[in-house]
């Protein structure tokens, strides 16, 4: 029966002369960078592209991990202040980290790692460090002290870098590049909730990306229709622990205080062309809080954002006003560039 229908379909195609070949879908699940990744690509031969993407993801992971003794990042952090030659990708990320640090006035600081570790977010052995300990560690937190000369990096003694806030975004940009080079024309990938899309869906419609409700992670805050964009969310619900004092401490550290960021935001979603930028900004803006975030957005026109405030209000920028559907019961406020 199946064969008959195949023959029938083929005949129908020939008769109608409809020779257009539908793109083939390929999909891959990868566990890397401590998270679950799903890549879906449509093209003539998506498997090739997926294979290359996976290889690259694993390579980057090996390069960027701060806990793997053999990674360049690990070696750099153990360099004790001496100049260290690193891979071009690592130096590019450091360069980007320094630039983003400047741009966000330190809201993103790739040298906050020793503080993060002290809180236990790297090991799962959470503890609340003493004020003195935090102050001590904060002395070494300053992205601007990194000296970068081509691919040679010099970290001040005691300083350590990590790419937790940028690695997945960097990786998703890279996956998209690989897809483009390998004949993939439509794609959607999710690297542990960091979503990036290429083109539209095969039927020409926009990708529907759901944003998680930070107050109830079982629910969807809303759906964003998008194409060719990265949609990356940072939230305090992702990884946190409850201290002995009964308070919750989230994994996003404010580099200015050395403590989990508490500036009135519970979730930040950044929509933009670059996964790297969206990833970095989702962390930085989470740290900034709403007012600073608004200001920052007004002086930069290369991204849109969805903020969820701890008081239960959604704030979106006007660029996505028409493409975001609020599915929650929370109030929605739209902010515009000229106001």
């Amino acid at each position: 029966m199946k064969r008959i229908s195949v023959v029938f379909c083929l005949t129908a195609l020939l008769v109608t002369g409809c020779g257009k070949k539908a793109p083939v879908k390929g999909s891959r699940d990868i566990f890397a960078m401590d998270t679950y990744m799903n890549l879906q690509a449509y093209g003539d031969a998506p498997e090739d592209a997926l294979e290359k993407a996976e290889t690259e993801i694993l390579r980057l992971e090996k390069l960027l991990s701060v806990t793997d003794n053999n990674s360049q990042t690990y070696k750099l952090n153990a360099s004790g202040g001496s100049p260290t030659e690193v891979d071009a990708d690592v130096s590019a990320l450091i360069r980007y980290g320094i630039d983003m640090g400047k741009k966000t006035e330190g809201s993103l600081d790739i040298t906050v790692y020793p503080v993060l570790r002290e809180w236990g977010f790297t090991t799962g052995e959470y503890s609340i460090p003493s004020d003195r300990r935090i102050d001590e560690l904060l002395k070494n937190v300053d992205y601007s002290k990194i000296i970068l000369d081509e691919n040679t990096v010099t970290l001040p003694v005691g300083a350590e870098v990590d790419f937790g806030a940028v690695a997945k975004g960097f990786t998703s940009d890279r996956v998209m590049e690989i897809f483009k080079e390998n004949g993939v024309s439509f794609a959607i990938i999710s690297l542990g909730g960091n979503v990036q899309t290429m083109g539209r869906k095969t039927d020409g419609s926009l990708w529907k990306v759901a944003v998680i409700d930070p107050f109830d992670t079982d629910k969807t805050l809303g759906i964003l229709e998008t194409a060719d964009k990265a949609v990356i969310t940072s939230g305090n619900y992702e990884r946190y622990f409850t201290g002995e004092d009964g308070r919750n401490y989230c994994h996003i550290i404010d580099p200015s205080t050395g403590r989990p960021a508490e500036n009135g935001l519970v979730s930040v979603t950044i929509i933009g062309d670059s996964g790297l930028m969206c990833d970095a900004l989702s962390t930085a803006i989470f740290v900034m809080g709403r007012d600073k975030a608004e200001e920052f957005w007004r002086s930069n026109d290369d991204f849109e954002m969805i903020l969820v405030e701890s008081n239960g209000k959604i704030v979106i920028t006007d660029g996505i006003e028409d493409s975001f559907e609020n599915l929650s019961k929370l109030d929605l406020e739209v902010i515009a560039h000229e106001s």
């Binding site: 199946k2 229908s5 379909c9 083929l10 409809c18 257009k20 070949k21 539908a22 083939v24 879908k25 999909s27 891959r28 699940d29 990868i30 566990f31 890397a32 960078m33 401590d34 998270t35 679950y36 799903n38 694993l58 992971e61 090996k62 991990s65 701060v66 806990t67 793997d68 053999n70 990674s71 977010f121 790297t122 090991t123 799962g124 937790g164 690695a167 959607i188 999710s190 542990g192 979503v195 869906k201 095969t202 529907k208 990306v209 759901a210 944003v211 998680i212 930070p214 992670t217 079982d218 629910k219 969807t220 759906i223 939230g235 619900y237 992702e238 990884r239 994994h251 979730s267 979603t269």
Partner: protein
């Protein structure tokens, strides 16, 4: 005879009341408590003038026969072949059944405790050896049963680390072994003395318990043998884990060390698909060969229990049963978490293929190749599914209703996909091309991820009648797997 009746009643209870028990467990617990209290009271009061039939019926509860039969249902839930109706029926209500059984068991313990615990603590030398051993055993069993029962309440369970919970629950194997020994200690001597019906009881108990041990071990051996199936994906997973970890999302450091070990083990066992099939076949052959063993043991027990042979072997024999049961349970404990090795494969490769076909078909631009492909994964998925879909609460097999205007067959369809670090199973109910319900569960080490994702994805799918949201921004883990599994289930349902 009492136990056989209890077994039949327990089976009827699971079949008829299973759904209700799952939905409204509390009334059942209360009922069990009341019955239990009644049984205990009846034993304490020791009312003489009761008609034989009523006495027999009461014995179901006072003598713990019905409770034992429920325990057997709980036990066998883990031993029946994956995907079988019995598994589908029992697995979802295992916790509730255990709690009910525990309540009923306590009634028996309290009733008999009046006499035997009393004697045990005040006048132990008056007890015969069997009674003494059985009473001591009962205390040990209570020590196991009570905490396990408490932990079976979802409220408590949710508060515990899944792995720890599972590990603790494994002491249930010891409990089952003790339960059998307990029963044997009491019935075996009576059978030997030629007491009416006791030989029959020894036989029934032995068939149920030794049969259980055999089938449970068989399942574990087959699973362990085919574990290498998992190696490809799992090995990769471990490799990644070993190397990595970005600080913003990382796991305890020792976690990686553990995985190093596991990986090493897996690497050594790594093998091609063929070899793995051979492995699993090997397991099957070994176990089929070993099938003679439990039968021999049962025959032996019954033979020895025959009243003609009144002399010595009694104790030796009992010891033999202990020896036969205890090491078996320990070997089982080493297995456990590994569920559905072979399904790992389907999820990442076949499922995606079926997805391709579904989409191309809907676009009516089907190519021959895609159509050809469909045959392979579909068959494999359905085969695997029929064989393996463990713990999936499906009640009905697909009903072939020839209604040409619908794209999908009505009925329940189950499929699975690989999620965060384990398999995600879904059952999709379709009525006239409308998804009326999706239920699911996961093997993942931390179901939290699944729960989060399921909460989002399943209502979305039902609401939109397709897997329409393309991705989730924010911390999601298993959502893709749930969607893939639903998609695969839909493919199975496709006419």
């Amino acid at each position: 005879m009492l136990f056989l009746t209890a077994l039949i009643l327990a089976a009827a209870f699971v079949l008829l009341c299973g759904g209700l028990l799952k939905k409204y467990p509390v009334p059942f617990y209360i009922a069990a408590f009341v019955v239990s209290a009644g049984a205990a009271a009846a034993t304490w009061l020791n009312i003489r003038e009761i008609p034989e039939s009523v006495r027999f019926f009461m014995g179901l509860f006072t003598r713990g026969a019905f409770a034992t039969a429920l325990w057997c249902a709980v036990m066998w839930g883990g031993a029946f072949p994956n995907g079988s109706r019995a598994v589908k029926k029992i697995m979802p209500i295992r916790g509730e059944l255990s709690i009910t059984a525990a309540f009923l068991t306590l009634g028996h313990n309290i009733g008999y405790g009046k006499t035997y615990f009393n004697m045990l603590f005040t006048n132990a030398q008056r007890m015969d050896q069997g009674q003494l051993a059985a009473s001591i055993l009962t205390i040990a069993m209570l020590v196991i049963m009570i905490p396990l029962t408490v932990m079976s309440f979802p409220k408590i369970r949710r508060k515990m680390k899944p792995k720890l919970w599972k590990n603790i629950q494994r002491t249930a194997y010891l409990f089952y072994a003790m339960l059998y020994i307990h029963v044997m200690l009491l019935t075996f001597p009576l059978a030997q003395r030629g007491r009416d019906g006791y030989l029959f009881s020894v036989g029934v108990y032995s068939v149920v318990f030794i049969g259980y041990a055999y089938f449970r071990i068989r399942k574990a051996v087959i699973r362990a043998c085919s574990k290498s199936h998992r190696a490809r994906i799992f090995g990769k997973f471990c490799r990644i884990l070993r190397q990595k970890s970005l600080p913003y999302d990382s796991m305890p450091a020792n976690f990686f060390l553990d995985f190093d070990k596991i990986m090493l083990e897996i690497r050594t066992r790594r093998d091609s698909e063929h070899a793995l099939k051979k492995f699993s076949d090997k397991g099957r052959i070994i176990m089929n060969g070993a099938a003679v063993l439990p039968i021999a043991v049962i025959v032996l027990i019954i033979a020895v229990g025959r009243p003609e042979k009144t002399d010595i072997p009694q104790n030796d024999e009992v010891r033999q049963t202990v020896a036969a049961t205890v090491p078996e349970t320990t070997s089982e404990t080493t297995e456990a978490t590994a569920v559905s090795e072979s399904r790992t494969e389907i999820s990442s490769t076949e499922v995606s293929e079926t997805t391709v076909t579904s989409e191309t078909t809907t676009q009516t631009e089907t190519t021959a190749a895609a159509e050809e492909d469909e045959e392979v994964p579909e068959d494999e998925v359905s085969e695997e599914n029929a064989e393996e879909s463990e713990e999936t609460p499906v009640e009905e097999e697909p009903q072939p209703e020839p209604e040409p205007q619908y794209v999908y067959n009505n009925g329940d369809y189950s499929a699975s996909a690989y999620g965060y670090d384990g398999e995600v199973f879904v059952t999709v109910t379709i009525e006239n091309d409308v998804i009326t319900s999706i239920t699911g569960h996961t093997d993942e080490s931390d179901p939290w991820y699944y729960d989060c994702a399921a909460g989002q994805v399943i209502p979305d799918i039902i609401a939109s009648q397709s897997t329409s949201v393309d991705a989730y921004s924010g911390a999601t883990y298993s959502s893709e797997a749930i969607k893939s599994a639903v998609q695969a289930a839909l493919e199975l349902a496709r006419k």
